[in-house]
């Protein structure tokens, strides 16, 4: 049988101008016409080619559900944009056999002034449904969204959760031959995410539906897709059964760093300098045993005297992207609540009772000061990961990504002024 999608030698090149600062202004172009540099200097140095995708080849059979995974910047979104015709490829070709609808965002084109009912029609039309189709499915959409009572209220009065539910309800009732979905499950609360995942499973089981699905949620990919592609720096580096591809992806991203030094922007008054993870023997390590204590050390600088400064650590399960634990140092150190003098500080979190189940977690560190009106915040970018491997002892209260809510625990901590 002929494949429903055939991608051949697909490539996409972006040109990055190094001189470019935000948007080009017509004013600058006009001004450039009067500058000798514009006419006499070669501009080659100022721009650089960047291949977001390179020589991508794959085929999808009718009825297949294909997962696409990869780190940020691997080219997943670019690939979906080309397949959706939003942007043209630089070279290569894509052959498609059927009606394509792409869902790259939930609620595209929602207008805040229009009512829920009007937005269902508008969003449906934007997603490529005909008015007739929307009318047929209207009741099902409304029932799925659970916002019946607010149908004639402008969407701007909806809570953000209600907006997402309504938007997803419209999207869930699309019936194209080929459906392209980008990371749309990362919205809403946990129970709604579950409902969406259920709906997605239902959709994938209807015959003849071909789906391309991008997500960072490995659980969802594993559940929905039999086959997956792994993209890395614009190239397909693995194509096969989902479990194998996910294993390969997670291995590629195994990190051994247990310490990171940050160079925060000068403008920040409160800035993280370094983060370190230490095991029960006090050695730097990000591979820890379940049930054994560990510590996290954060060093940060206050450039001004500040009130109610706090440092916090959060753990995000890499498989489900759910934050499982979030804790602040200030809870245990109330005497540091009032004004703190400027200088260098160290906050030490000691996880005497390790509550984690085995798995891999992203570590986020955030510091800030409280008077809400003048909040300053600095967030580490989460490139530290911790792996917990099963050890001899087991924790009594076990945490992992299957929990749907963040635990707010008071982890023993101390704050020391070091400079």
């Amino acid at each position: 049988m002929d494949p429903i999608i055939r991608v051949e030698h697909l490539g996409k090149k972006y040109r990055i101008k190094h001189t470019q600062k935000g948007y080009v202004a017509l004013r600058d172009v006009v001004a450039n016409l009067f500058s000798w540099r514009y006419w006499f200097r070669s501009s080659k140095k100022e721009q650089e080619d960047f291949w977001a995708l390179q020589d991508v080849n794959f085929e999808v059979q009718k009825g297949e559900v294909l997962g696409i995974i990869g780190a940020n910047g691997a080219g997943k979104s670019t690939l979906l944009k080309i397949l959706s015709s939003i942007t043209p490829p630089t070279n290569g070709e894509v052959h498609m056999n059927g009606r394509v609808i792409s869902l790259l965002e939930v609620g595209t084109g929602f207008h805040p002034e229009l009512t829920g009912r009007e937005n269902i029609y508008l969003n449906g039309a934007i997603l490529g449904m005909t008015r007739k189709e929307i009318e047929q499915k209207f009741d099902a959409i409304v029932a799925f969204s659970g916002v019946e009572t607010f149908l004639d209220t402008p969407v701007k009065r909806f809570s953000s959760g209600m907006q997402v539910r309504l938007a997803f309800a419209v999207a869930a009732h699309l019936e194209p031959d080929i459906l392209i979905i980008d990371e749309v499950l990362a919205v809403g609360d946990a129970s709604f995410q579950k409902k969406c995942l259920g709906k997605m499973e239902e959709v994938t089981k209807q015959d003849g539906r071909t789906i391309l699905f991008v997500s960072h949620n490995m659980d969802a990919i594993a559940k929905l897709c039999q086959r997956s592609l792994l993209l890395d720096h614009g190239k397909v580096i693995a194509d096969g059964p989902t479990d194998d591809v996910i294993a390969r992806y997670l291995n590629n991203h195994e990190q051994t760093r247990a310490e990171v030094t940050l160079t925060p922007p000068e403008t920040l008054d409160i800035a993280i300098r370094s983060i370190a993870i230490k095991n029960d023997r006090g050695a730097l390590s990000n591979r820890l045993e379940t049930g054994k204590p560990f510590t996290i050390e954060i060093e940060y600088e206050l450039k001004k005297d500040a009130h109610e400064v706090y440092a916090g650590v959060a753990f995000i399960d890499l498989k489900t992207q759910i934050s499982v634990l979030d804790t602040l140092d200030i809870d245990q150190n109330k005497d540091h609540y009032p004004l703190r003098k400027k200088g260098m500080y160290r906050s030490l979190f000691t996880f005497q009772e390790n509550p984690f189940n085995h798995g891999r977690y992203k570590l986020f560190v955030h510091i800030g000061s409280f008077p809400a009106t003048q909040t300053t915040l600095h967030l580490s970018d989460g490139d530290l990961t911790i792996t917990f491997v099963s050890g001899e002892t087991f924790a009594t209260d076990v945490l992992d990504g299957t929990r749907n809510s963040t635990m707010l625990l008071n982890i023993p901590s101390e704050i020391i002024k070091i400079g």
């Binding site: 080009v24 039309a125 934007i126």
Partner: protein
């Protein structure tokens, strides 16, 4: 459904078949614009009527009474309103069309459809405004006891068409340029203001004397002058002016369309 192919290059053309396939989206966007326009403003429909009316009053005071511009016996309010009718449609729809790409950038980045739908759909709502302000015009005619010429009435439709082609041409061009150069939206109001003074809206075309040839370059001059002189029985239809209006408006439209088509595929990358 037949197979289709996504390639780096795409043949130049209007792709009318594809546009037809997206007609429902065109309709939905038009309906959105209308609903939002008549919902957001507290005075709703009145706004469409208010703007040309106030302009008419101000122009009547300054140009009719104080500067005493000659209008061949037609009451100045009638004279100026017959021009403002088209001018308001032209300038409002032109600004909306020019800003349409940037205003809808969220959709452009996430969904594919022929981009030309956006500027054209944004124009339709102003046709509705045109109808409302025409009703005011009818009221003014009755108030000043002016009997319009029937031929002039028939001219309304072709004149609207010429105006639409012209503003779409300029609008398509500016909306495409605006994607890349965001400061276009500061240039545009100035440009439109300038156009008002080189178009015989507040003064009769006869004032131009030996510079009359300028009228032939600006389709809006033709629209307003031909409509006014016929509708208010100020003279017979000037066929050369009418003809050049049609011709120039088509040229504007084609040039704008060509530029738009050349750049539209990259909008999502640039915006």
């Amino acid at each position: 459904m037949a197979e289709y192919v996504i390639k780096p290059k795409r043949p130049i053309g209007l792709h009318l078949k594809e546009i037809w396939r997206f007609r429902e989206l065109f309709l939905a966007l038009t309906v959105r614009d209308m609903k939002v326009r008549y919902k957001q403003t507290a005075i709703g429909v009145l706004w469409a009527v208010f703007q040309p009316f106030i302009l008419m009053v101000v122009f009547t005071i300054f140009f009719g009474r104080i500067a005493q511009i000659s209008t061949n016996g037609v009451p100045y309010p009638i004279f100026v309103y017959s021009g403002l009718l088209f001018w308001n449609y032209f300038s409002n729809a032109l600004s909306a069309a020019s800003g349409s790409m940037v205003a809808n950038q969220a959709i452009i980045q996430k969904i594919y459809f022929p981009r030309i739908i956006l500027p054209t759909a944004s124009v339709v709502v102003f046709l509705l405004d045109f109808i409302f302000s025409s009703i005011i015009f009818a009221g003014l005619l009755i108030y000043y006891h002016v009997t319009p010429n029937i031929t002039g009435l028939l001219l309304l439709v072709p004149m609207l068409l010429i105006t639409t082609l012209t503003l779409l041409g300029i609008g398509l061009f500016f909306s495409a340029v605006n994607v890349k150069y965001r400061d276009v939206r500061y240039v545009l109001p100035f440009f439109i203001q300038l156009l008002l003074f080189v178009t015989p809206v507040i003064y009769p075309a006869t004032i131009l004397g030996e510079y009359k040839w300028l009228l032939y370059l600006n389709p809006m001059s033709g629209v307003i002058d031909v409509f006014r002189s016929t509708f208010l029985s100020l003279g017979s239809i000037s066929w050369p002016l009418f003809g050049s209006s049609i011709l120039v408006s088509i040229i504007f439209f084609l040039v704008g369309l060509a530029y738009f088509q050349k750049t539209e595929r990259y909008f999502a990358d640039l915006i």
